[in-house]
Amino acid sequence: MYIENEEDYKFAACTYFARNHPGETCGSNGLPLTPSSVTILSRAQRLLNIEHPNLCTYLDVIRGKHERIIVVAEVIGKSLKEITSKFTYQEITNIGRQLANGLNFLHDQNITHRTLADDNILLDNNGRVKLFNFGMYYMTGSGEEVSFPLGLPKYLSPETILKGGGPAADVWSFGIILLELCIGKLWHNLKPGPILRRILTLVHANNPAERIAREHDCLDTYKEVPENLRNIIEMCLKIYPSERATFATLVDKLSQIDDKELVTVKAERGLMGCKLQYLYHWWQLAGGDIQAELKKNCLIKNTPPILSMPIAILLDGCTIGGKTGALYDRRIAKYSLDLLKIRLNHIPPHDYYPLMHERKKEYDAVLLPKIIRERDTEYQFYRLLLFQRLLHGYPFTAPYIRAEAEIDIPPLVRGDVWAALLGVVGDIQDQYERIDKETPTPTDRQIDVDIPRCHQYCWLLSGADGHRALKRLLKAWLLTNPQYVYWQGLDSLTAPFLYLNFCNEARAFACLSAFVPKFLHKFFLKDNSFVIKEYLAKFWQMTAFHEPELATHLHEINFVPELFAIPWFLTMFSHVFPLHKIVHLWDALLVEGPALPLFMGVGILRQLRDTLLESGFNECILLFSDLPEIDIGECVKESIAMCRSSPRSISYRRFTNEAELKDPMDVVEIPMETLFTEICPRINLSDFFSLICQNKCCVIDIRSNLLYEKSCIEGSINVPFSGVQLGHVSQRALGLPAQQALQNAARQAHTVVVAGHANDDSARLFSEYLVKCAVARVCILHGGIPALQANVPSLFVTPPKKN
């Protein structure tokens, strides 16, 4: 077999143009037709997930300018076309066996190759055979999306030339390849027309293989071919597709001739042993540029645009004249990984095999914003290898994954990590397949009108494949959740999961199914008004807790969250931000849990704070109808800080799927009507107790002086409610001790707890008063002093008598 210095090329790119829709035609819904390139890209997503030892793994499909498509895939060695030396029959059998293996796999996946040729069969000096760009016919929708013919003429089967044919055409091409390997190149130096004619004349031949050999004066050579191999060639080169052998049979027959182990190549170690997808990703991060390389190799040529101007344009959009470049270039540009090797040169070998339990090294990069970390080659190198390990051990490694996801999630494995964070396990594929996603329902119309406008800037979701997948997901979810209905916004909510799991709908579905109960419990009930109202009330309380000044202003201008925040929470911001921002928001959401969104809302308000404070009602509502740029990184950071520094019970909601709280120390539930009137949240006795123990709160006892002096919480301050003038909004009006205590609390970010009687309005009114005085972190002790006395009497002392 041919031996040559193994080249260092790991992947290659080729390029072609998708078909142009003539003119600017619109579909039946008045929307522009989906560009062919988008259709191709979404079809190609499936190819990116195909891995087989005899197939070159697809790495990327890129949309260039003017409907250009660039395909990036693994390469090995050289193509059969480039190899001029003769092969022994044993070698031919081995090549054939590997080819048949790859093609058999494709046919099992219902993918027809159709463009099999000597220049897309690659062979390395270990004897490995792989098919390059085997999905051309598939990704172009059987050639529908391109305006050039697919396949090299001499490998086309007769029925393909006559514009018919199915997968059996590949068997014919395979037969021609084998025949060429045995008797040399066929129809050399002939133009496509004559070749096609020759192939069609074979229709009358009894034995096309022999006939071809005779035509090439090689009948003798052909007869020398071992009979079993010759038989195989003849089983392929049958005129009638139905008479041809299938690849399953061919694999069998070939293994009977050559029953040796197929080539096994020792797994490489170090950088070259890493997953090819990772290598490609890192290479790009290190500055690798597919398009630049294509230009260097003249596969992308830039001609002055004036030359491509048509001479005439007909009314129907057809153009006449104008030079267009070649639509398809069979050449490929190969890429070496030198760039990446140099970049990662200094990494010691053992870093390639990170240990989960070992405290990993601290990278400086952790301090940088996430967006920058995601672009850092070395950082992503470490993160990806670590996550690969962790994900490999899922579900047993779930706690480790969570801990690492808290730092950040490498974009390349975000889909896997999200599924792990949501606890997706089991045979999700089977479960998803069992759900009826086709039967029409009355909701279909709404779904149909919503999908074509849901995150359509993302080409993955804008193609017909994306639309269909989103519809299936929505229908499947509605069918499995009969208690819920389709609310507009559910489409946006589903989109991020589809975006990250485009080729794994079942996982997208499993993620959605796990996400909703956790974050949006009961939100999609037919009557969800109470759920939403409670959520918004809680959001407003959190705003008052962390941003009292802003809350006061918004209350004063009667600017209520119902006017702007429903889409925020109903869709967990997926209707509000573009996907690249949503993924960062949700990264945090999935790690921190269901309380975080409330604080994210506050985080957004905080970023708009200055504008809001000086705006009236109209300006405020305008601001939210056309939301200004929000710094998501900052918003996430702030909201996590707020969430973690807030006592858990203040963000308690009734409508969650968490277990009901029974212990009087934990309870913080109040009737809805009461909730809607309270600006400040309530804190339960447990949280209060732990704040006291950590000395992290300032307690204001608003009972009368008399009661206070009988017994009070140690360290609390007495501001009898009856003496407070609610109209006089100033901390100074509360007296010096209270003022100092509040200032002290503000400095140390302590929580201010208002403790009063159990069942009167004073605590509510006083806490509102404090908010108006711009006191942050104010909450009401649930149950007041009496509840505390009953449950934790040890906290009470008799205050020292003042003289």
Partner: protein, 217 residues
């Protein structure tokens, strides 16, 4: 009579005799008929093929100049899905004008528009000016609702009626102008006193609005 696009140019600088009237206008109609697109075309002169669905509502303002007065529209663009119906009264309460939109290529949306008109006549302010807009007139080839049918319905119910296209901008400014012309500018002077639902309600929750704005200043 013309509308100006850019916000700054609309206010006639240094013309104190010009009255400025504010009116609350609400858009209603089945989802995906083009409510948001109409507003976007009117307010910003833009059209997005893939205009995202509206959840809850959106708010925008635009000013048009009539001969002697300037009319400022405060536009509430509502969600179309039937499920969001319960939110609608919050937006049409106190509105002085409404545009009920349907899609001329879809008969069902016309039926839904009729229901909205009925609801407005029953629930909204009695003096509300209602306009019916048959949107997507650029798709006339796929028309399912005849112009005459809609016109007859509009005449019966005393509605303004136009077929519009947010995509080509046809009749978009005209329908807002027609509403501006029909709105009672004289009596609205009284809005400052009562601050009720009838006139000058610039706030949504107008029940307790302590400083209900006057309509004309």
């Amino acid at each position: 009579m013309a509308t100006n696009r850019s916000g700054a140019a609309q206010r006639p600088n240094g013309a104190p005799q010009t009255k400025v009237c504010q009116f609350k206008l609400v858009l209603l109609g089945e989802s995906a008929v083009g409510k948001s697109s109409l507003v976007l075309r009117f307010v910003k002169g833009q059209f997005h093929e893939y205009q995202e669905s509206t959840i809850g509502a959106a708010f925008l303002t635009q000013t048009v100049c009539l001969d002697d007065i300037t009319v400022k529209f405060e536009i509430w663009d509502t969600a179309g899905q039937e499920r969001y119906h319960s939110l609608a009264p919050m937006y049409y309460r106190g509105a002085q004008a409404a545009i009920v939109v349907y899609d001329i290529t879809n008969q069902d949306t016309f039926g839904r528009a009729k229901n909205w008109v009925k609801e407005l006549q029953r629930q909204a302010s009695p003096s509300i000016v209602i306009a019916l807009a048959g949107n997507k007139s650029d798709l006339a080839a796929k028309r399912m609702v005849e112009f005459e049918e809609a016109q007859a319905y509009a005449d019966e119910n005393g509605l303004l009626f136009m077929e519009t296209s947010a995509k080509t901008a046809m009749n978009v400014n005209d329908i807002f102008l027609a509403i501006a012309n029909k709105l009672p500018k004289s009596e609205s002077g009284g809005g400052g006193g009562g601050g009720g639902a009838g006139a000058g309600a610039r706030r949504l929750n107008d029940g307790d609005a302590p400083r209900a704005s006057s309509c004309c200043k």
